[in-house]
Amino acid sequence: MADLAEADEADLQRLVAAEQQKAQFTAQVHHFMELCWDKCVEKPGNRLDSRTENCLSSCVDRFIDTTFAITSRFAQIVQKGGQ
């Protein structure tokens, strides 16, 4: 009975971790939507034209670049401050 409980608990942990990952990913998508909808969609048309799609791709990529740049800069500052 103890082995069964352990296996169940491992399964449950895996399930919870998977659901957490899904929730995190969904939250990310929402976040990007808020940022990029305003910047890239002016007046909604019949379909997503290539200009809008390019803008959305750029929006996602540039935001990631920006996050990375700011994170690195902060790391630098913290390092220098520590010396």
Binding site: Q24, F25, Q28, V29, F32, M33, C36, W37, C40, V41, E42, K43, P44, G45, N46, R47, L48, T52, E53, L56, S57, V60, D61, I64, T67, F68, T71
Partner: protein, 96 residues
């Protein structure tokens, strides 16, 4: 939107009624949240100066708005999936 139509749409057979109730209510809440969010977004994009009647142009714009919103969400989802596959380190720094 009654719970019996929702449950038959979801293909549920015999489920714990309390759990079922929770799921249905959560679904309703999520739907309403989405409606509110979309109304706000599309109002800004499609409504210039409020007229005495909702004209056909504004209506068409609202239809497009909802559809483009869904397209855009899907597009961003795909884009993020691509990015995560090629640069896994970024997904960690973003998920704080």
């Amino acid at each position: 939107m009654d719970s019996s139509s929702l449950s038959s749409a979801a293909g549920l057979g015999t489920v714990d009624p309390q759990l079922h109730f929770m799921e249905v209510e959560t679904q309703k809440q999520r739907f309403q949240q989405l409606v509110h969010q979309m109304t706000e977004l599309c109002w800004e994009k499609c409504m210039d100066k409020p007229e005495p009647k909702l004209d056909s142009q504004a209506e068409a714009c609202f239809v497009n708005c909802v559809e483009r919103f869904i397209d855009t969400s899907q597009f961003i989802l795909n884009r993020l999936e691509q990015t995560q596959k090629s640069k896994p380190v970024f997904s960690e720094s973003l998920s704080d």
